[in-house]
């Protein structure tokens, strides 16, 4: 027999991963519900509801008009069907479009005034809404300062933002970080200038819907030549039943600035599906850089495929300035249905876009996700690394576009998309579109689909791991390149999520 020593566990699997994986227990950790008195807009969708949302947010008239125009357009659109997704028809009239805790009627002036029940909710989710350091308790966090690291949080609960931390400190640096509803009131000139400039109102069915009914989300503005002094994050929580969450995020990185932004999301375990349709727009000016990381952990539905979030998201970054840079990193483990293509418009010369993605689907989950890299400027570069893992009866699709326009001379793209299949009832699909219209650019695309390597499995099990541990370990190795692109705290959480998401996938 070939010596076991000659076998190598897939590069990138580390001792600590093994530990992390071993220490895990339980399935979806965030399935509990906060018992809190809520206030709802009437069910269904019509111009009055749109007006009502606008009113609740105390918006100026132009914003109301903008929403109504979007609604009028949405009514004329058909729901797209090209994705490899299969779900019962969504009754858009059988949803609540606005839900907020009663206690939020009077906007709290500071975090101290926020309903303790809400604070408790975030505490329980591991996102304390306190202005405190995140301690360097995470293993291998050498690059963290000893006193810890600050992360500012905007917490969105159903339709409203309940609070944003570190606002004062950020203000000193000139950074604006607040809920989008606050931004519409306080910084209308910025919102007016940029909202809808990357994802136009009529971009697609779900984005148009979002434009009409978005209730809250985050707003970020980083002034020129400013490195945002801390990481910014938004935590989205859906709590109310039968309620859709429509969040809107707008990030503007002015010339020479830098920001790293994190997004997390969870929802209670329910047996009816819930709708989530978000839009994220990022504007990046000359020499600026934005890192946007997501750990998407919406309730995925149960083992029978009941319930879960239907997640339709439009995310796009516009690299307007020369040498601007964006990096999307996503770990998609949740949602019953995911429809999401974070994209990069590489307009500025020498601008760069990167997309790192792990999408894990188990049980009856379905994901159709990928990216678009649109090269418009000269000497632009993009890189796509996508890792899809499919288990149970799940379907996982990578869908992407790489487009080199005639003027995008000397540009480069490299795409690697790999799929892993666990079990013989699931599916893994790759649908890339490649369009090259100049010859000084180079586009390379590679894709593979395979199952978990048997020799690696055997090696792990011979070393004492059970099947599930071994799979989690190998999958983590498979996804390493993407995990590495995440900020430290997220990377650990993501590794654990990988293991949890795959629970019950073998045997």
């Amino acid at each position: 027999m070939a010596g076991l020593d000659e076998l190598n566990v897939k590069e990138g699997v580390e001792e600590e991963t093994v530990e992390a994986v071993k220490s895990l227990a339980g399935t979806y950790k965030y399935g509990w519900e906060t018992d809190i008195e809520m206030e709802y807009a009437p069910k269904g969708l019509n111009p009055d509801i749109v007006r009502l949302i606008s009113e609740k947010n105390e918006e100026p008239k132009w914003m109301t008009e903008w929403r109504l125009e979007a609604f009028a357009r949405w009514e004329k659109l058909d729901e797209p069907s090209w994705a490899l997704l299969n779900y019962p028809e969504i009754d858009f009239q059988d949803q609540y479009y606005y839900a907020r805790p009663k206690s939020m009627e009077e906007k709290p002036k500071s975090l101290d005034e926020v309903d303790p029940k809400l604070l408790e909710t975030y505490q329980k989710l591991g996102i304390p809404l306190k202005e405190q350091m995140i301690l360097a308790g995470v293993e291998g966090a050498e690059d963290m300062p000893a006193e810890g690291r600050k992360v500012a949080v905007d917490a969105v609960f159903d339709s409203v933002s309940v609070g944003t931390t570190f606002q004062e400190e950020l203000k000193k640096a000139g950074v604006i970080f607040c809920s989008i509803s606050e931004a519409i009131r306080e910084h209308p000139e910025l919102v007016k200038k940029y909202l809808g400039s990357v994802v136009p109102v009529s971009d697609n069915y779900y984005a148009t819907l979002n434009s009409a009914v978005f209730s809250d989300g985050s707003f970020v503005y980083i002034p020129p030549n400013t490195r945002c002094p801390m990481e910014l994050s938004t935590y989205f929580r859906i709590n109310a039943e039968n309620t859709g969450q429509f969040e809107r995020t707008l990030i503007i990185a002015d010339k020479g600035s830098y920001v790293s932004y994190l997004e997390g999301c969870t929802a209670p375990q329910r047996d009816t599906a819930q709708l989530h349709a978000a839009v994220v727009e990022i504007i990046i000016e000359e020499d600026a850089e934005v890192k946007y990381s997501t750990v998407q952990n919406w309730f995925p539905g149960d083992e029978e495929g009941k319930g879960g979030i239907y997640n339709f998201v439009t995310k796009r970054a516009d690299c307007r300035g020369d040498r601007s840079k964006v990096m999307w990193t996503q770990v998609e483990t949740g949602s019953a249905v995911t429809w999401k293509y974070p994209s990069c418009i590489l307009r500025g010369a020498e601008s760069q876009g990167e997309f790192y993605s792990i999408a894990i689907t188990n049980n009856y989950q379905q994901a159709d996700t990928g990216t678009k890299m649109v090269h418009l400027g000269r000497d632009t570069k993009s890189r796509i690394v996508s890792k899809g893992i499919s288990a149970g009866k799940a379907q996982n699709t990578y869908r992407g576009l790489v487009s080199m326009h005639p003027k995008a001379k000397n540009s480069r793209n490299y795409t690697q998309c790999d799929s892993l299949l666990i079990g013989d009832k699931c599916g893994a699909h790759t649908v890339p579109y490649i369009e090259v219209k100049n010859n000084s650019s180079r586009v390379e695309h590679e894709a593979t689909t395979s199952k978990v390597d048997e020799e690696q499995m055997f090696y792990c099990r011979q070393r004492g791991m059970d099947e599930e541990e071994a799979v989690a370990l190998i999958v983590n190795g498979f996804a390493k390149e993407v995990l590495q692109a995440l900020p430290m705290e997220f990377a650990m959480e993501a590794q654990q999520l990988v293991a949890i998401s795959l629970e019950g996938s073998v045997g």
């Binding site: 005639p406 790759t430 649908v431 090259v436 590679e446 894709a447």
Partner: protein, 429 residues
Amino acid sequence: MSTAVKMTADEINADQRPASGAWAAEARADAANRLASMGLPTRRDEYWKWTRPDSLISATPSEAEVFDNQGEPLVFHEIDRLKLVFVDGVFDADASDALEGEGLEIERLSTAAEKDIHWAKDLYGVLETAGQTPVKRPLAAYNSAQATDGVVVRVTGQVSRPVSLIYRHADKASDAILHHVIRVEEGARLTLLENGAAAARFNQVTEVDIAKGAQFHHVRAQGRDHDRQAVTHLFTRVDAEAVFKSFTMTVNGKLTRNECVIEIVGDEAVAHVAGAALGDGADSDFHHDDTVFITHDAVACESRQVFKKVLKNGAKGVFQGKILVKPDAQKTDGYQKSQSLLLDDDASFQAKPELEIYADDVICSHGSTTGAIDEEALFYLRSRGVPTPIATDLLVLAFLADAIEEIEDEDISAEITGRLDAWLSRRRG
């Protein structure tokens, strides 16, 4: 002679469809209904995203100059083969060899169609129909409804020489619709060659049924007819341990769309499809589209797609390739390669290399690259004294080599290489 594309079922059904016996009449009527229910392709169809179907479905074809070959022998002329000649889509018995050969049964489609019972009944329009899901191919259904001529070939044993379909173009405005049906019986083997300018506009369907352990080798040369407007469909069903290999060389042609639809139904079968295209848009448009769909529906089968395109002066290349692995098609080994070399800034390439996989014990992959010529290699050649144009051509041929290597027969592959080389040197002047 020319048959305009009809838009509705009534038009199709009312049309003077070629006279035929019961089975053929029924197959044609079915095809007409299929077409009527799916409609003709439009520019909005995802499957026609990058290739405009307009000129393929217009009522009359645009005229095409008849290419004067100036007595130069055509491709394959040195190869001993059974010649079947079609002029503007009509079988020319005088120019053809006798319809007989060892291990072969050959008939003209129109002869077979007049009979009340014929083996081709189980294939004609049948493989085409199977190939209509999940993607609609209306121009193939149109062909089955309207085909005026073609051959039906049954291979029962060892065939001593290749069957060669030679197309000739004589009428500037001809609109040819040919439909061939081939069945290679268990353990038998056939090599099919195709070449020549068929007509001003050409719609071809070939249905090939390959029985257990049988082999079908196909080499096609599309060239010379600069004004070519062609859509071809090759539908094949590959049974256990059988081998299907198809290679197409394409040079020139305003619009060529070659679709290859392969269904692997038996275990341990092999299916390879390859293409090498050289496009220069300087004198007339060049648009070349390879659209491939391979379905794995059996265990331990191998499929390969190797497509290479070299493009310049506004030439456009398209590749749409898909591997579909059905749930029980374990141990599938599928590979897809689509590469293009853009020799100048006007050329463009668009590709969609898809994988759709429902079985877990598989190895499937694809690679696609697009870019300019390798400067390092070019310099190395020049430093050895090879002038840039020759060096470029050498690298172009090298680039195409992967695809040409898919041809098993060495004489034929040498012939193809020679033709490509000659095309390149003619352009070099």
